[in-house]
């Protein structure tokens, strides 16, 4: 590019202003990425939910148990591929701050239904043989530096005494990006032997895998009809609807963060845009001189646009790099409070696109002004 030296010279004429403008852009981008990442974490459950899975809970409330005998009846419904049942364990590892979800699982069917959560076969076989066995998600195992073979004490009020100790037999990971790798799985049989009579032979909820996602509505209805008017009525929803139910209860907080964030983001962009406009206006006479010595109006527009886009892109790249470095750190601080924060490629692209758009927009107005100005007037003003 034969004009690149001119553009660069203009960029660096006020170094402090250049640094501050690029910095402001970077800040706006960090904020944008952070908010987008947090927002996606809030709705993660819905995004990763399997379209071919249903969740069956008690009609009268989430914390109500269902008889474990429902499993066979559900499996008999046409269109159902596999059924597994879970319980919420709700124990405490060392301190309440160390929260992670603990599920009592049905080892026979867990892997048939939760196909994306993968455990190596040898680890899984050890787990099957071990009544006090446990499988931890990769994220939780890393968080507490657990190794296979460790004994994990979990305080619980469910097992007569106050504590249960479990052997870590395996670590699962999710084949689906963004999947939940924080769960801790326990054996249902051991649970069933130790809980008080009220909880014997029960399941907290069922997860149903379908032959085809198209069957979801029909099978859900068939399940609820099967148990209608029994003493344990059910409520069946798709996994994503079930996840949405939790996400919606967060509702207002999420909306609040997003609203406040967006307002601030646009304010920052306005501020940066304004700064660029000022820097162009200050040079009106120079641009007039360029036109006077023969550059076309379009060339002048190009100089101004190129300058603002370069600033925006520099700020954009810097901001995304900072976000890329900062988000894992802040994600660590939020462990146990929110699903992992993931900075996706599409988000990065969107961020760059945003920077480009704002850079072009903030350069366009003063640039068009410069293109249209009459040389005589502009020179006379200076």
């Amino acid at each position: 590019m034969k004009y690149s030296r001119l553009i660069l010279a203009n960029l660096f004429r006020k170094k402090v202003r250049l640094i501050l403008t690029v910095g402001s852009f970077a800040i706006a981008l960090v904020l944008f990425t952070f908010l987008a990442v947090v927002k996606s974490a809030f709705s993660r459950g819905e995004e990763i939910a399997g379209a071919d899975r249903l969740i069956v809970v008690s009609r009268i409330g989430l914390m109500q148990v269902l008889p474990v005998s429902h499993a066979d009846k559900i499996a008999a419904i046409p269109g159902v591929k596999a059924v597994t049942h879970n319980h919420w364990f709700g124990g405490v590892y060392q301190d309440e701050k160390n929260f992670f979800p603990q599920f009592v699982i049905d080892p026979e069917n867990q892997r048939k239904v939760m196909t994306e959560l993968v455990v190596p076969d040898d680890q899984w076989n050890n787990f099957l043989k071990d009544r006090q066995g446990a499988i931890a998600g990769k994220r939780t195992a890393e968080r507490f530096h657990w190794k296979i073979g460790d004994r994990i004490p979990i305080k619980t009020t469910l097992y007569g005494g106050n504590s249960g100790e479990f052997n870590l037999d395996g670590i699962y990971h999710s084949e689906k990006p963004g999947g939940d790798e924080s769960q801790f799985w326990l054996q249902w049989k051991y649970f069933d032997e130790n809980v008080p009579a009220v909880l014997k032979s029960t399941a907290g909820w069922y997860v149903v895998k379908l032959n085809s996602p198209d069957d979801a509505v029909r099978v859900a209805k068939a399940i609820d009809e099967k148990f209608g008017n029994s003493s344990f009525e059910t409520k069946t929803e798709t996994e994503s609807a079930f996840a949405a139910y939790f996400a919606k209860q967060f509702g207002n907080i999420e909306l609040l963060i997003i609203t406040i964030g967006s307002v601030v983001f646009f304010t920052l962009l306005l501020v940066t845009g304004n700064t660029m406009a000022i820097s162009v206006r200050e040079r009106t006479s120079e641009l007039a001189v360029l036109k006077a010595i023969g550059f076309s109006g379009r060339a002048v527009l190009f100089f101004v646009l190129a300058e603002s886009i370069v600033i925006a892109m520099a700020g954009g790249f810097l901001g995304l790099t900072l976000a890329y470095l900062a988000i894992p750190v802040i994600g660590l601080a939020l462990t146990g409070l929110l699903p992992p924060l993931i900075l996706s490629k599409s988000l990065l692209t969107l961020g760059i696109g945003f920077a480009l758009l704002v850079g072009a927009a903030s350069g366009l107005l003063p640039g068009i002004g410069a293109m249209r100005m009459r040389v005589v007037n502009a020179l006379r003003r200076a």
Partner: protein, 389 residues
């Protein structure tokens, strides 16, 4: 000798466009800072005011919330004779409670959210003394009647006095609304403990927790010592206020980390804005500053003068930011309570000290944004600055 302050006020007015840009940056940052803190405080205050110092909550030892706790009816019989529990005309002031959850549609979206159902003893209002019936009446013992908290009434559809709703396997008539002073109880629905247990297939020999009214706040230790050393019992005794403040920690932590990070990024942005404004102010007034130095003002006065200008802008920005979020005070919103999985309504709580912190935050940004340009202004050689232009 200091430079007269009116000089700065006038120069701020003369460059109003760039002043406004800096003002908006600082006001926005302070606004978000105050709003986030007030959100965290409101959530906390709602849970903390739920407990009172002269009540104690008895749960199964090791339980982290009422949801994972259970106290048998035999244990309740032992507990009620323990010392430290206040007595009314009908015996000890004690309510064994059942805590359940029911999906009820939200008014706003029509989708279900979890409401906390609390089965209580008929004398509960003599134990939780800060709760009053504001509409209708209290439910009657042995009837399928419920009373609802004022936030529950506002948040969920169908919870109006006179209406009948299905909960568990039974139907219940709403007979009253109670006001719990903005605490977590305001998001709950209360009914007869025995009937609620029945409707949810729960054995009537267990309750989730027992709340007792103490003879005095100091009686807690005595009660605790008696119950925790009794070999027939396996319970924890917590002051009600401590139980509820502990419940608020996770959500408060989430809001504080998210809000703190956003406010920190914005603060950097606002300092950049202030720096930009002040640097261009210094650059534009090179000759002015040099003239002032030439007529005898020393560099210290120049630094002070520019610092004052930055502080003026940031102070106004801070006050504007506070004013902008002030209408949020008292606004009710709701979110999930991590410990119970139920929905909890709470209000933004903007207190005077929060506003004060907001303004101080603005002034700090002003110093950071104003100091480097002020020093540059003072350190330029007089002669060369005067020769400019």
């Amino acid at each position: 000798m200091p430079i007269p302050l009116i000089y700065n006020v006038r120069s701020v007015k003369a460059r109003w466009t760039s002043t406004i840009v800096a003002l908006v940056g600082i006001a926005g940052t302070v606004g978000v800072f105050v709003a986030m803190l007030s959100l965290a405080r409101g959530f906390r205050a709602t849970l903390v005011t739920s407990g009172s110092a002269d009540n104690a909550l008895i749960t199964r030892a090791g339980a982290t919330s009422e949801m994972t706790s259970g106290v048998s009816i035999d244990a309740v019989k032992i507990i009620q004779d323990a010392p430290g529990i206040a007595r009314g005309s009908e015996g000890p002031l004690l309510t064994p409670e059942a805590v359940l959850m029911a999906p009820i549609p939200l008014r706003s979206t029509g989708t279900d959210a979890n409401v906390e159902l609390r089965g209580v003893a008929p004398n509960v209002l003599t134990i939780r003394k800060n709760i009053r019936i504001v509409e209708g009446r209290m439910f009657r013992h042995g009837l399928n009647e419920i009373v609802v908290g004022k936030n529950a009434k506002a948040t969920y559809s169908g919870l109006t006095v006179g209406n009948t709703i299905a909960l568990g396997s039974a139907r219940w008539q709403v007979v009253g609304v109670f006001d719990a002073g903005g605490s977590a109880f305001d998001s709950e629905v209360w009914g007869d403990a025995h009937l609620l247990n029945g409707a949810y297939n729960r054995p009537d020999t267990f309750s989730q927790s027992v709340t007792v009214h103490l003879t005095s706040p100091a009686a807690l230790q005595q009660l605790k010592d008696t119950l925790t050393t009794d070999p027939r019992l396996n319970v924890d005794v917590t002051r009600e206020i401590d139980y509820y403040s502990k419940q608020s920690t996770r959500m408060t932590q989430l809001i504080t980390i998210l809000g703190g990070f956003v406010a920190a990024i914005m603060a950097i942005g606002a300092v950049f804005g202030a720096l930009n404004t002040m640097y261009s102010a210094v650059a534009e007034r090179g000759r002015e500053i040099a003239t002032m130095r030439a007529v005898g003002f020393n560099p210290g006065s120049v630094v002070l003068s520019f610092l004052f200008e930055a502080l003026l802008i940031s102070f106004v920005g801070g006050v504007l930011g506070c004013l902008a979020v002030l209408p949020l005070n008292g606004l009710t919103t709701s979110t999930i309570n991590f410990q119970t999985f139920s929905n909890l309504a709470f209000a933004f709580k903007i207190t005077f000290d929060l506003l004060w912190m907001g303004v101080v935050f603005a002034l700090i940004m002003g110093v950071l944004g104003g100091m480097p340009p002020a020093i540059r202004a003072a350190s330029r050689p007089v002669a060369s600055a005067l020769r400019e232009l």
